[in-house]
């Protein structure tokens, strides 16, 4: 009985932790998928943008002491850095073999991470959970951290918002149309190059949000993006390029896989997402939700 109870305890806690972490993955991967799926750009600096968001939020928190403004700071930081990146290093490469985007964004990632180390320092930083979001809620004998609940809720809201923007607003329609047929949209009078900058900045914003929202849980350090970006790529590949549903589903899935993996098979836990990616590429190369979804329909 006790074993069963412990088992259920593990499952419940695992679900909760996995979903909240998975939501962060969804945010980052949504940004990555936006950029990759819509623009065809492989953004290797996405992990660095995640770190930039966390640090921008951290600095803003230091100055203002307010969590909401810190999140805003992260959004602004992400948007600005993303836009500058697109304008300065991605745009010149549109005419060239797209494979060059990989090394150039890799270089940008190095620059961003080193810049963080240079201006702020290489040590770990702590990011305080705001008062009103700390503590736990007791539900049915379990206690759930309030902040993780906030993560799940805000993650859903943010991703939902992105989806609404792309599917339900006029500008979102222009964005999707511009990717689908750039010339046509241009001949209708819209400035498509601005659209590209917007998409890249938007993708960067979502990475930044992922960074600032997870910072209170795990702290900040300059290299925080280097490992998570690989997981984000896996999420995008597993979910299916250009599929919104896919990103949400696979982000949560992989968050859960990692969490439960850590509990039940700790030796290989870290390897599980990679094995999943290999399996998908071999047997379902378009990803789980490959063709459908907001981006490609």
């Amino acid at each position: 009985m006790i074993a069963l109870q412990l088992g259920i305890d593990n499952i419940v806690q695992g679900l909760y932790a996995g979903l909240s972490y998975g939501m962060i993955l969804v945010l980052i991967s949504a940004g990555l998928s936006l950029i990759f799926g819509l623009m065809g750009v492989v953004n290797f600096a996405h992990g660095a943008l995640y770190a930039v968001g966390a640090y921008a939020g951290f600095l803003t928190l230091g100055v203002t002491g307010s969590f909401p403004i810190a999140v805003l700071g992260a959004i602004v930081g992400g948007a600005v850095v993303g836009a500058v990146m697109e304008l300065s290093i991605i745009r010149p490469l549109y005419d060239r073999n797209p494979i060059y985007q990989l090394p150039v964004t890799f270089g940008a990632a190095i620059v961003l991470v080193e810049a963080i180390k240079f201006f702020i320092g290489s040590g770990n930083r702590q990011f305080a959970i705001p008062e009103y979001l700390s503590g736990t809620i007791p539900v049915a004998g379990y206690s759930f951290g309030l902040y993780r609940l906030f993560l799940i809720v805000s993650g859903l809201a943010l991703v939902g918002g992105l989806w609404l923007f792309l599917v339900r607003t006029k500008y979102g329609l222009i964005v999707r149309a511009a990717i689908f047929d750039t010339e046509m949209v241009e001949s209708m009078g819209y400035d498509v190059s601005r659209t590209y900058t917007l998409i890249f900045a938007l993708g960067a914003v979502y990475a930044a949000l992922g960074g600032v929202l997870i910072a209170p849980l795990f702290g900040l350090f300059p290299d925080m993006g280097t490992k998570i970006i690989i997981i984000a790529f896996i999420v995008v590949v597993v979910g299916g390029l250009g599929s919104f549903k896919g990103v949400v589903f696979s982000g949560l899935l992989i968050g859960l896989v990692q969490q439960f993996g850590r509990i039940y098979v700790p030796t290989v836990a870290e390897a599980l997402p990679f094995l999943l990616m290999v399996a998908i590429i071999l047997y379902a190369p378009k990803g789980l939700f490959g063709v459908e979804g907001v981006f490609t329909d």
């Binding site: 890799f106 390897a271 990616m277 290999v278 590429i281």
Partner: protein
């Protein structure tokens, strides 16, 4: 005068450089050109005699990375496949070198043979999975597979876990060189560098090399003409993997240390970086690139802690404005 060279040259400066190169090449007697790699090797060895320990160490580092870079260039510069997982070969080589030397004390040549086998097997495994895709997907797959190895290496305590493996010594060898001595180890590195270059050059100058180039230029057309491009890609990856593993073995023995970090994707990025810097598709480009990157670190480190910041900026600038790298200034892609 080589018309093709001229027609490909983009500016009058480049025309002049090409003309100068042609003139030098035709002025030198044929045998000298053929022996050039060996002469360079000899020059390196003789030059090494005059270097202090620290400088020799830097040069050794450069030459090992040069082997890695040339191997990478075969796949990237000549066959057109961008792998982001070459750290898998390099890191595995380091582990193989140290583990085998520590546990079994096998002689150096046997160790090299083993490295070749391991490199081949690893390339085939990675190739079977990753070569079904191309372009960005290939890059991401190789990345994922290398990261998988990184994770596994960190987990297995038998090979040191997260702290890595330390070598107790270097292997014995029948070649009259004592690898434990820094200078003689350096000589071995030079020998391997020259040997690798000659072999790779041979392969590239052969019909196989031409198929690699064909795949780079237009894989579909190569397929139409009748080549089984998949098999040639596997071959390219295998050769590249083998030489990368050998470079890794030397690196591990050089540092007396093998770490999971040698399998981390940043290493894969670094070899791409130095290949692009030096000039992809030239084979000597990566040698120059390796020198550039290591020396940049050497000179910048005392001045500024964040020399990698400068490296990153320079790298981005090179891709934007000098995509053909340093060697690309004097020669076209081969």
């Amino acid at each position: 005068m080589n018309l093709t060279d001229l027609s490909l040259a983009a500016s009058s400066t480049q025309v002049r450089i090409v003309e100068a190169r042609e003139r030098i090449a035709s002025a030198l007697p044929g045998p000298v050109l053929k022996l050039l790699p060996y002469l360079v090797g000899l020059a390196l060895i003789v030059g090494g005699l005059f270097l202090e320990t620290h400088q020799l160490s830097i040069l050794n580092h450069i030459l090992i990375l040069a082997i890695f870079g040339m191997a990478y260039d075969l796949l990237f510069g000549y066959t057109g496949l961008l792998s982001f997982g070459h750290a898998a070969f390099f890191g595995t080589g380091a582990y193989v070198g140290i583990y085998i030397t520590n546990e079994y004390g096998l002689p150096f040549l046997v160790l090299l043979g083993l490295a070749v086998v391991v490199g081949l097997v690893l390339s085939l495994v990675i190739g079977v999975i990753a070569l079904r895709t191309s372009g960005v997907y290939f890059a991401m797959l190789t990345l994922a597979l290398a990261q998988l190895l990184y994770i596994l290496a960190r987990r297995f305590e038998e090979i040191g876990g997260a702290s890595g493996l330390t070598a107790f010594g270097r292997p014995e060898t029948v070649i009259p060189l004592d690898l434990a001595d820094d200078f003689q180890f350096f000589v071995m590195t030079v020998l391997l560098l020259v040997g690798s270059y000659v072999v790779l050059r041979r392969i590239l100058n052969s019909p196989v090399g031409d198929v690699f180039r064909a795949i780079r230029e237009n894989e579909d057309r190569a397929e139409m003409v009748g080549y089984s491009t998949f098999h040639y890609k596997v071959a390219s990856l295998s050769i590249s993997g083998i030489f990368s593993t050998v470079a890794g073995v030397m690196f591990g023995l050089f540092l007396f240390f093998g770490s999971p970090n040698f399998l981390f994707w940043v290493i894969s990025g670094d070899v791409l970086l130095l290949t692009l810097f030096g000039g992809a598709g030239t084979l000597i480009g990566p040698v120059i690139g390796a020198g550039f990157v290591v020396l940049l670190e050497e000179f910048l480190t005392p001045i500024i802690d964040d020399w990698r910041l400068i490296l990153g900026i320079v790298f981005v600038l090179v891709i934007l404005f000098f995509p053909r790298g340093i060697a690309g200034l004097f020669m076209e892609e081969d």
